[in-house]
Amino acid sequence: MSATVDTHDHDVHHHKETFVTKYIFSQDHKMIAKQYLITGVIVMGIIGILMSLLIRMQIAWPEEQNAVFKALLGKWAPEGVMDADIYLALVTIHGTIMVFFVLTAGLSGTFSNLLIPLQIGARDMASGFLNMVSYWLFFVSCVIMVLSFFVETGPAAAGWTIYPPLSALPMAQPGSGAGMTMWLVSMAIFIASSLLGSLNYIVTVLNLRTKGMSMTRMPLTIWAFFVTAIIGVISFPVLLSAALLLIMDRSFGTSFFLSDIFIQGEVLHYQGGSPVLFEHLFWFLGHPEVYIVLLPALGITSEVIATNSRKPIFGYRAMIMSIIAIAFLSTIVWGHHMFISGMNPFLGSVFTFTTLLIAIPSAVKAFNYITTLWKGNLQMNPAMLFSIGLVSTFITGGLTGIILGDSALDINVHDTYFVVAHFHLVMGISALYGVFAGVYHWFPKMFGRMMNKNLGYIHFWITAVGAYGVFFPMHFIGMAGLPRRYYTNSNFPLFDDTTDTQVVITVFALIAGSVQLVFLYNFISSIFYGKKAEKNPWRSTTLEWTTPVEHMHGNWPGEIPHVYRWPYDYSKPGHDEDFVPQTVPLKEGEEELQH
């Protein structure tokens, strides 16, 4: 499909499309973006959120009969009391779906696909075919993950980190039977999909930029997607190898991760492997994964904040440098998840050092966002609210990283609710806000219609209150020593003074969960009945707003526009309008900002 790339090709593809090639096996990046949005964000997101609500209801009202459990979980909740194994399965699949399916594939898949060609001025991705394959592999992995709920022994239940031996031995836990096999197969396919996608993004950014679009004239969204794809290509293969070795241990009797095991009255043959090795491999992906989730959200935020502040993003160069610094450092901090795993304490010191280093570029980004708001002319569109919300949760969540990254302090809060609070705020909620900001902002580009802003406001404010209400108090019960992944805390009178807080948290979660219905309504009804969008509704400078509202193959009817300036000429003195699109040549004597 490299023909779509031809910039001299004026009459672009008028061949007839069938329903199947247009909506199902489409190779057009805009359609693939929508497919990712609906599958990854909407459908998987609903499933993931429902699971989190079940988890929360169990924690708040443990071991009580609950009609909702009975209805939704069936045999996993005899008499309406949730089973302990299925609790762990819910936690595991909730985590897996949220991290990988919603915030990796859903987020990058939607916005990298939509925006990379549109913002760099390309007719499509480098390979439309691989792009299509990538989506369908993703689809298959979603189906397998969801189907794992229907196997006899239940889905994987060893936590989203699937540490062996728990995940390797079917006798250790029912979820480690067929459910875990499906988890591993699903993830292997997922990784293949992610690698195809990432390679495509990288090649497209490197090769298909329009005339004048130098690397330092790219919007920060593209920088973020580009670096994210590179991190993905570096780290996902390591997870794939860990998964394959685990499959070998499970099914072919090897001992990569297992040694000296006595379980259910017998000694197993495994000898010489080490679970710690798995932890290293897992977190070599696992930590960069946090940034794979976060960077695209920050990229979207940069774009949305600049546009809606009517101001250039502050410190464009510094933003690029910090993205690159974060990407580099993110591959050498994985050990902070393993301070007390039994690895050499000296390594713990090294990882404390690198981890606190990564706080620095992160702090730079936060300050740059705040400075961008300063003396702006802020247009409070829903996308803007979610972007400001993102900066807020990113700061709140990021700060507690200082505690978790400090090996001496991690001893006492490792694997407690403190960690749950930290990572939900800094990556879960922040990235989710990034997704929402992106959807509200680029909805007109995707569907040619506008979303309802008032419903957007309701959605944002209730979600924002809910998010703090859920995760802020968790820091405190975590510091009180309450471990995560406990089915109930009623066996520890020690923790009885946290039970009221647990109920409050669950109430906030139920409210925040239900208000997502407002978004869903807004999303669906706007696709069909939303107000028709103008070409450039947010008065933005970037290239995607120069394309026609009606989607067309090849994106621009005539020649691809050329680029003459950086993407952040908002409110530039000497111009009448408060934005100067990238396609407008510099005036005589006008300086391109030496950013």
Partner: protein
């Protein structure tokens, strides 16, 4: 049947919310139907930003007020505990200050610079001095924290063999704990899961021929003498577990196929901790909660709850299967004499085999 009804009910609620949204949606038609924020939207949302800032501050204060005494920030029961607590408090204070300040800037700017028609934003793209300042300040603060942290970490993790620590093995299995004392020679006998012999009650796989093993003592309740360093050697027979002793600020994973270690010196006996006024308040509070719960339970003809008495605990803190949530062992810290008396009543490994 109830299942069906519940699904129906939940569906109805969802449909009701949906309809409400729809009514709201349709009711707006008359108003200026711009899909882009107007000056009025900017103003309302600007004020809401201030309100949200207040909300963040309030939830922080409420949490500190009601939950601030739950965290394990004082009354640690080990020698290194106060070091961790100090560092934790310093970190929390720094975080609190930075959080208060940056959230203020963010939300205040969002309110202050809310858009108005005809206003023009300041074209301000770059300032190297500012960038240097907010790169520099985190560098200095973090450097301080790293140095303090690393000294503390090294102190905790480096075990001084000169001090003649009491050697204790913590043995994890789904879903309970055992402890093995090294006996009078203070050397643990060799062990491997391949030597487990359930018929002979050799449940830890201790080498029956190893002379060092004969005086070992296996128990299900951990007793520790006050003031003597204890060197824990962790083992697991099946999956990963984690020995978490929050009151002592201690935690280490138990890894099958490997022996991990952690050392600390208990400084407060169980009896002393029970007399600690902070702890007494906490226990009283918990017992009030339990009394209330018992009333509710008894109203439904169920058994009430026992009153709670303080004890140190060892919890499992690494997901390990179905009963992970109930994998615990009581820890008793006592004086050297009490400890010796207790120890002399325990069977040695050699005597415990059948």
């Amino acid at each position: 049947m109830t299942a069906l009804l519940t699904i129906l009910l939940v569906t109805f609620v969802a449909v009701a919310i949906w309809q409400l949204i729809k009514i709201f949606d349709l009711a707006q038609v008359g108003e200026s139907n711009s899909a882009v924020a107007t000056d009025k939207d900017n103003k309302i949302n600007g004020y809401l930003m201030l309100a949200f800032l207040a909300f963040i501050y309030i939830i922080t204060i409420v949490c500190i007020w009601y939950l601030g005494d739950l965290p394990l920030l004082s009354n640690s029961a080990s020698e290194h505990g106060p070091d961790i607590d100090n560092l934790m408090i310093i970190s929390l204070v720094i975080i609190f200050i930075v959080q208060t300040f940056t959230q203020f800037l963010l939300h205040y700017f969002a309110y202050k610079y809310k858009g108005e028609k005809g206003k023009k934003a300041l074209f301000y793209a770059d300032n190297n001095t500012l960038e240097a300042i907010w790169t520099g300040i985190p560098v200095v603060v973090l450097a301080g924290l790293i140095i303090y942290g690393l000294f503390t970490w090294n102190d905790i993790m480096n075990v001084d063999k000169e001090e003649d620590p009491l050697v204790v093995e913590l043995y994890a299995q789904q879903f309970n704990w055992k402890a093995r004392y090294a006996g009078s020679d203070n050397v643990l006998g060799k062990a491997n899961v391949r030597l487990i012999d359930l018929d002979k009650a050799n449940i830890l796989g201790v080498d029956e021929d190893d002379p060092n093993a004969q005086d070992d003592v296996v128990v299900t309740e951990l007793h520790l003498p006050k003031g003597r360093p204890v060197l824990f050697k962790m083992r697991s027979q099946d999956v990963l577990h984690s020995a978490y002793m929050p009151h002592f600020r201690a935690q280490m994973n138990c890894v099958p196929g490997m022996v991990t270690q952690f050392a600390f010196t208990p400084t407060v006996t169980t009896a002393e901790m029970r007399q600690n006024p902070d702890m007494q308040d906490k226990v009283k509070n918990i017992n009030n909660i339990r009394v209330e719960k018992s009333k509710a339970l008894m109203a439904e003809d169920e058994e009430g709850l026992d009153p709670y008495e303080f004890d140190y605990l060892l919890l499992c803190n690494k997901i390990c299967g179905k009963s992970h949530y109930n994998m615990q062992m009581k820890i008793v810290v006592e004086t050297e004499e009490e400890f010796n008396a207790w120890m002399s009543e325990q069977k040695t490994f050699a005597n415990s085999l059948n």
